[in-house]
Symmetry: C2
Subunit: 270 residues, 2 copies
């Protein structure tokens, strides 16, 4: 089921600025037994991302209701929420009083192999770099061509994710995931002040680490450091956490750091 | 009138990758008396931009026919052609056999004040910078949030355009235009190998200069050089060419360089 501004339809005005310019933001998360997982965090992030684009954010109750409606027919599903700046005159100038468009869709929850979460995944390094754009860094907006280009670099289903570097050669994350690394001191996750998406699960893991007084630094991470990591863990709201068991052909052994991040990512309520 | 894949409708599937990721390209140009202006160049650029995204380009005859159909009711109009990678599975990976979506729309030709082309325009410098992304530089793709952010920096209708700089402080062009500058040697236009859109009118002006053995260099252009230019000219397919008569409060006098670029931009057939 798909709702556009609350109405059941799978069609959108072609004049929408989401299509014209990618002028909007989105969220993707599981809904299980009617419960949107970590909804409080998902909505907060949506509101922050709307604010970053000076885009009026829809009311929380309106969106929560639409999420419930699209998920109603599913025991488990993945819900995607898109908020755009709506339709406008021709030209880049945002309309002075935009009427945002809400698109809420549910899709069956694709089951990744259990082995991914338990035994870890194989990962490659993409050649497509992320451009440095501080004004949009961290925001999950609809301008995602870099991710599309990076994800089109491989088709081997045995490779679960590709890491993306910035123009200086620092690792920012996966095409669809955030990255945590275990080094001799503790946990580290890339600095996202110039590019990348600061996802909800990354934020929840950082908060859990802080609560439990586990060191988790935010730093620029060179590819060399990542290739020499003790452990690597990929996270997002849909997959939870996947330890990495192989990167660019080098084996890695998931350990206690991976287990810890995974437990935090999978925590029901936080 | 709007055509989506040849059918008259103003609606598009919400699952289109143009909306989800900005996974597509576009063109905007005048159609006058049923004739798409500089169609040969417009289609060539569309084909190049599709190729840059590994997107199958629709047939020229199909698109030309759709342009004619949407323009039929207008003596003069602005036609926009969007080509996206179509609908696909969830996720960034492009479908192996994408079926592109064509969106062709006509809008009334907004008449800019005659004074803009004759006497020149006022221009500001935007604080939003263009990120350096060589993989997408030059391509008119649907990821245009930087332009939206830059264009939302001002609302004074007396300011016709804002110049955008790259992260190193070089001027790349306007939010919707390419830039030419006249210095003591001749014409110069910014190097677009790291960001910006290499528009059709820019290409036509470069070709005309070459044909007439007029020097027109492609160089990185610092803001200081632009602020100290003898003449500045903004071009695109919709406006033709506008000389600049004021930049950030400093007066500029349009001269023979502006007239020359304008004549080339307005040339009917080339």
């Amino acid at each position: 089921m798909i709702l556009v501004n609350g109405a059941a339809t799978d069609l959108l005005a072609v004049t929408d600025r989401g299509l014209a310019y990618g002028d909007g933001v989105f969220r993707t998360f599981p809904v299980i037994g009617g419960r949107a997982q970590h909804w409080r965090f998902q909505f907060r992030k949506l509101r922050e991302d709307c604010a970053a684009l000076a885009l009026p954010c829809p009311e929380e109750t309106v969106l929560a209701d639409e999420v419930t409606r699209v998920a109603a027919a599913h025991a488990e599903c993945i819900v995607k929420v898109i908020v755009t700046r709506g339709s406008g005159e021709r030209g880049y100038a945002p309309p002075p009083n935009p009427v945002p468009t809400r698109v809420v869709t549910a899709a069956p929850r694709v089951r990744h192999p259990e082995e991914f979460a338990r035994g870890g995944v194989r990962v490659r390094v993409c050649s497509t770099r992320l451009a440095s754009q501080p004004r949009l860094a961290g925001v999950k907006h609809l301008n995602r061509l870099e991710n599309v280009l990076a994800r089109s670099e491989w088709s081997d289903p045995a490779v679960a994710e590709g890491l993306m570097l910035d123009s200086e050669g620092n690792v920012i994350g996966g095409t669809m995931t955030n990255l945590f690394m275990v080094d001799e001191i503790g946990l580290v996750t890339p600095d996202l002040s110039k590019c990348g998406v600061a996802g909800v699960t990354r934020g929840r893991v950082l908060a859990a680490a802080a609560r439990q007084a586990v060191s988790c630094r935010i730093e620029p991470l060179s590819l060399d450091r990542v290739l020499g990591a003790r452990e690597l863990i990929l996270v997002n709201s849909v997959i939870g956490a996947w330890p990495v068991r192989e990167i660019e052909g080098r084996p890695l052994r998931p350990g206690p750091g991976s287990a810890r991040v995974q437990a935090w990512a999978d925590q029901e309520d936080d």
